[in-house]
């Protein structure tokens, strides 16, 4: 009861936060047919700066940290990525009127991780002064890559079964490389390395940190516009995708919250870390996941997984899941 109350309060106040209000503003702009656009080069640069900042900041802070602490959460991340995909694959294969490849591809995106949602969560946690382990952003690939690989493997096995005939090998290593080479992950990893092995503090403090929130507001606007624009695509595919995209993030986040809570009890994983883990699990890959899935499962219809992800999944992850897990943490950890 109190949780619901807390969540509603949290939710109402978050709606006015720069992060969420820009997301909603973007959707409203698109809904009213505004010609305002954020140019593509600006968007790419925004993503670059956000992820470099997250990476560098993490890198600088974990220089002295005990990295062995990271082991359990990293393992949990891998498990979560795989679990979400298995779950989605199972659910979609039981739903009527769904092309199984479309379902598995969608599950793959929801198992993977969104860089934008991660950035939004970090800002919201900072606003709540809720601390988290400096290495948290580094968990990203541990959940992202296994999820994408598993989805492609499952879809390929399924296809063989249906088609019979020639077995097409999945090149897991190629997928790992492609993921690490994606613009989002490589910006974050580059930042991490610079933070660890160089001295980027001056430039971090004079450029990347001051611009972070402003550029995040621009990113949220783009996400909001895209969410509205792609709703049309979602209308053309089975409604189950929308249902999954709405409830999936909440369920995935809750599972992650549970596992994170166990890690809290066992190894003292911080409340902020638990929230961030839940948000990562709740998020679905928006920048680098779709091309990987498109290349790995080309026979799946992009409209289904992209529509589900950008039009429903991401707004739910940002606007509902972040405030929900923050509120939940405040109750559970008695903050």
């Amino acid at each position: 009861m109190e949780l619901i109350f807390d969540f509603l309060r949290q939710f109402a106040s978050q709606l006015q936060s720069p992060t969420l209000s820009f997301l909603i503003g973007g959707a409203l702009l698109a809904a009213f047919g505004s010609k305002l656009t954020i140019p593509s080069p600006i968007y790419q640069f925004v993503v670059f700066v956000l992820l470099m900042k997250i990476g560098m900041k993490g890198g600088v802070e974990i220089r002295g940290a005990e990295l062995s602490e990271m082991l359990l959460p990293a393992a949990i991340s891998v498990v979560l990525g795989l679990l979400i995909v298995f779950l989605g694959h199972f659910i979609f294969s039981r739903l009527p009127g769904i092309n199984s490849a479309d379902g598995t591809a969608t599950a793959g995106l929801f198992g993977a991780v969104s860089a934008s949602t991660l950035a939004a969560a970090i800002v919201m946690l900072e606003e709540q002064s809720m601390n988290f382990e400096a290495w948290m952003p580094a968990l990203y690939p541990f959940m992202d890559i296994p999820a994408l690989i598993l989805a492609i493997v499952l879809a390929s096995i399924q296809r063989e079964k249906n088609k019979g005939g020639e077995r097409k090998k999945v090149h897991a290593w190629a997928i790992v490389k492609e993921s690490l080479r994606s613009s989002a992950l490589s910006a974050m990893i580059l930042g991490l390395f610079l933070g660890l092995f160089a001295r980027p503090e001056t430039v971090l403090a004079s450029f990347y940190e001051p611009l972070f929130r402003g550029l995040l507001s621009v990113l949220m606007l783009v996400l909001g516009m895209e969410a509205w624009t792609r709703i049309k695509e979602l209308k053309d595919v089975a409604h189950w995708f929308a249902v999954y995209a709405f409830f999936g993030p909440i369920v995935h986040g809750l599972i992650a919250f549970g596992l994170g809570y166990l890690a809290h009890l066992w190894v003292g994983f911080s409340p902020g870390g638990v929230v961030l883990l839940s948000v990562i699990a709740a998020s679905n890959s928006d920048i680098s996941g779709p091309p990987t899935i498109r290349a790995g499962i080309p026979w799946a219809n992009p409209s289904s997984y992209i529509g589900a992800s950008t039009s429903v999944g991401t707004p739910v992850a940002i606007a509902i899941c972040i405030p929900l897990f923050v509120a939940l943490a405040q109750v559970v950890f008695d903050l």
Binding site: P39, S40, E233, I287, R294, P298
Partner: protein, 105 residues
């Protein structure tokens, strides 16, 4: 001064364009031109990529190969059709052109 030749035009999504270019080179295409485009076909409208789209790599690209030998164009077309276009959106057509400096094609 001008010699008859063929231009093969392939329209496809960005992230299989590398594969298409590799096919062109493996089939003795001597060069190709890449034109960033938008458009609409059986699938959804692709913008001309000035506007930010969250998801990268789904833009369309027009690839043009000029070749003196129609057979080369046909081999490329066949390979692209069987290796790339099975699952991917795409359009392909051939045009007659007259080229200068035929030794380059």
């Amino acid at each position: 001064m001008f010699y008859p030749a063929k231009k093969l035009v392939i329209i496809t999504e960005y992230f299989i364009s590398e594969k298409v270019c590799a096919i062109i080179e493996s089939c003795n295409g001597k060069g190709y031109t890449l034109v960033p485009i938008g458009g609409k076909g059986m699938h959804h409208l692709h913008s001309t990529s000035k506007k930010a789209t969250v998801i990268e790599g789904f833009d369309n690209l027009k690839i043009e190969v000029v070749t003196v030998d129609r057979a080369v164009a046909e081999v490329i077309a066949e390979k692209v059709l069987s290796e790339c276009f099975e699952d991917f959106a795409g359009v392909m057509y051939l045009e007659d052109v007259e080229i200068c400096r035929p030794e380059r094609f």
